[in-house]
């Protein structure tokens, strides 16, 4: 019967469309290769494997990341590349699958002979690549993954740009302590590695900050409704509600709390991307979110403002921390390669350990500790207004820095 379907004239229009689409993609790829070849510098490119989530549940994050990455790598190559050679990111799709992420890493290592790996925006795939990179002694710069074990003691080849998630929870408790000593806290979160790590950090610090957790509700992934739990939270009468839902469930939590009369000012999202804020909408004006980059930051550099304007023009929305970290990734590689003086893997790894640079967009220092973790930091922002799906206004209300070992991160999250 499959034969019938393939040869059926009724299928011909679809086949034509598919062929036309394939041809267009092929032409596009050829055009892209031609364009990148036209501006390449002398010498063979320095290849870096960019193993990210272009399909699967994390599609949006992987593609957003690549949008930021491409902007920076083009800028670097236009400015002469690194060590007189073009910097080439070999972008591959890991399908948001740890198994596929390892297979892709091996292919990048063995066939493309990349000098380093980078790319994941998901802790599960990042952990899978971590195992490969550490075993094969391949430098690995993680742009967006916050699970603490990526930089556990003994890590040698992995370096992480994003602060670890347990630290977000820790700093959140300290932030609330400053705003309202003895506050009553409700927590609603999805059962995902990232959220569990944030909660672990918060629960570690909460008693030390004398915060009172009055509701602690975990939702499995795939949950679609939280009305009952929102009512329980409302009945517990908290001062603040910390909410983190996986995917669209985040918006469900937000809306159902607001529907039940919880005020936006009581709601704290430990992290936010632009699309999440669009989803929360204007009715969330006044609520608080944590982030590592935002177009409403006070301390944006000239390059940061320029990045925001160009990203916005190209993508019809301001970038968030995901795009920012991926935009900074090529610049961090450039700095490290220049410090290493060659594209040798061991020299590059040593260069990462000695690197003292800053995020080009915000000026925040980038220094990796002995485990490859960065000096931790977080901004807390407050939503001022949300203009549909195009933009939003926010104001910076708090900034905190701390060392990764200020809390027992690797004991809190195994």
């Amino acid at each position: 019967m499959q034969h019938d379907i393939e040869t059926n004239p009724a299928a011909a229009p679809w086949a034509s469309v598919l062929h036309a689409g394939t041809a267009a993609v092929a032409l596009g790829l050829c055009a892209g290769l031609f364009a990148s070849g036209a501006q390449a510098q002398a010498g063979t490119p320095i290849k870096i494997g960019f193993n990210t989530e272009l399909t699967g549940p994390w599609t949006f994050f992987g593609n957003s990341c690549v949008a930021g990455l491409k902007m920076a790598s083009e800028e670097i190559n236009k400015a002469g590349g690194v060590l007189g050679r073009p910097l080439e990111f070999v972008i591959v799709d890991n399908q948001t699958s740890p198994t596929q992420a390892v297979a892709a890493s091996r292919n990048l290592d063995v066939n493309d002979k990349v000098v380093a790996l980078s790319g994941p925006t998901n802790s599960d795939t990042a952990l899978a690549i971590y195992g490969y990179a550490e075993q094969q002694k391949l430098p690995y710069l993680v742009p967006v993954a916050a699970f603490p074990q990526l930089t556990k003691p003994g890590t040698r080849y992995t370096f992480r740009i994003e602060p670890d998630a347990a630290g977000w929870g820790y700093s959140l408790a300290r932030f609330i302590e400053e705003r309202k000593p003895g506050a009553r806290i409700a927590m609603m979160y999805s059962d995902a590695a990232l959220m569990r790590a944030v909660v672990a950090g918060f629960k570690y610090q909460a008693p030390r900050s004398k915060l009172n957790i009055v509701a602690d509700i975990l939702f499995p992934q795939g949950s679609s409704d939280a009305t009952v739990q929102a009512a329980q939270v409302r009945a517990a009468n908290p001062d603040y509600v910390i909410l983190m839902g996986a995917g669209a469930f985040d918006n469900v939590l937000n809306n159902q709390l607001l529907d039940l009369g919880v005020k936006p000012e009581q709601m704290i999202h430990p992290f936010a991307m632009t699309t999440m804020i669009f989803g929360w909408g204007q009715r969330s004006a006044g609520s608080i979110y944590g982030t590592f980059f935002d177009h409403g930051l006070d301390g944006l550099t000239r390059e940061g403002k320029d990045f925001i304007a160009r990203f916005d023009a190209a993508n019809n929305r301001p970038p968030s921390y995901v795009e920012n970290y991926c935009y900074n990734t090529p610049y961090i590689f450039r700095e490290a390669l220049q410090l290493a003086g060659s594209a040798d893997r061991e020299k590059l790894r040593d260069a990462f350990t000695r690197l003292k640079t800053r995020e080009i967009t915000s000026g925040i220092p980038i220094v990796f500790d002995k485990n490859g973790a960065r000096k931790e930091y977080i901004y807390f922002m407050q939503i001022v207004s949300v203009d549909g799906k195009r933009t939003y206004k926010s104001k910076q209300i708090h900034y905190a820095e701390w060392d990764a070992d200020d809390i027992p991160v690797y004991e809190l999250v195994k």
């Binding site: 399909t55 409704d225 669209a248």
Partner: protein
């Protein structure tokens, strides 16, 4: 009874009703197609998601939610006709066609998943439709949005009309006759292939509507397709393949089970509680509760 207790009770009732009604609607769509055509449509979750995403896109270009729902239903009927013409009808007379259908629709699921990832997946990680109706209605201390009341009302009305039409309309009776015995129905003059087409159109349209009602009541992302697909199959198995009454009753029971278990145990236990019911049903009454 304190206001806090009433608030939690009313919210449980609201969640059970809305989830139950949407589950029942989607399961009714799935069970009509399976019961009549013997088509276990593995891509029903993708149909559900496609409708929600298409409505989201139409709203994005300036349509109201109501107009988007009507527009997507019209497009959905056209798409169902196309799929029936290109894929489904070719297997009507194949022996053991349920296996062939399952494989074909699994392929369709993969294709649709890929298309979603390469299109909507690039634009956002979460989607929602603006409310059909603004405002809230107080049910005791519980503020229920008028939008969710409207969603519930639409779902219940559609289920009632569907149930009535299948029972009393000549086409509905013909459809049920084919459910029960297609050879006997054919001998009585029923155009079996036309009824197959009708049931595929009807079932798919109901799934499309379910997707859009879900998008009105909740935010969603691309993972909802899998969740809804498993839930709809579970309801169909417990209720009895081909039984709209079974879909309605079991859908409501599943909705309330989720709401009640989530409060007395945990939301985690709620998500698999109804699957345990499905397994028990497969062990003790494999033909389902409402199968004749």
């Amino acid at each position: 009874m304190s206001d806090a207790t009433l608030l939690v009770l009313a919210s449980t009732l609201s969640t059970g009703l809305i989830l139950g009604a949407i589950f029942a609607l989607v399961a009714a769509g799935v069970t009509i197609v399976y019961g009549c055509v013997w088509l276990p449509n593995a891509s029903n979750g993708q149909f559900f998601l496609l409708a929600a995403l298409a409505a989201w896109s139409l709203v994005g270009v300036g349509w109201s939610s109501a107009a988007a729902i009507i527009g997507v239903l019209v497009l959905g009927i056209a798409l169902s006709l196309l799929i029936e013409w290109v894929l489904v009808r070719r297997l009507y007379d194949v022996p053991d066609r349920n296996v062939a259908y399952f494989v074909v629709t699994l392929g369709l699921t993969q294709i649709m998943s890929g298309i979603f990832a390469m299109s909507w997946g690039l634009w956002s990680d979460q989607f929602t439709l603006p409310p059909l109706v603004d405002g809230i209605t107080m049910i005791g201390p519980f503020p229920m949005t008028n939008n969710r009341i409207t969603v519930l009302a639409i779902a219940l009305v559609v289920l009632a009309v569907l149930f009535g039409a299948l029972r009393y309309h000549p086409y509905g009776r013909a459809l049920r006759a084919v459910f029960q015995n297609r050879e006997a129905a054919a001998l009585r003059g029923v155009n079996v292939r036309a009824i197959y087409r009708l049931s595929f159109l009807l079932g798919s349209s109901i799934i499309f509507l379910g997707g859009m009602l879900f998008a009105l009541a909740y935010s969603f992302d691309l993972t909802v397709a899998w969740t809804m697909s498993v839930t709809a199959f579970a309801i169909m198995i417990v209720g009895g393949p081909g039984s709209v009454l079974g879909a309605l009753v079991v859908g409501m029971v599943f909705g309330f089970t989720q709401a009640v278990v989530s409060i007395f145990a945990s939301p985690t236990a709620a998500t698999f509680s109804y699957l345990i019911a499905m397994l028990a049903m497969l062990l003790f009454r494999p033909s389902g509760l409402f199968t004749r």
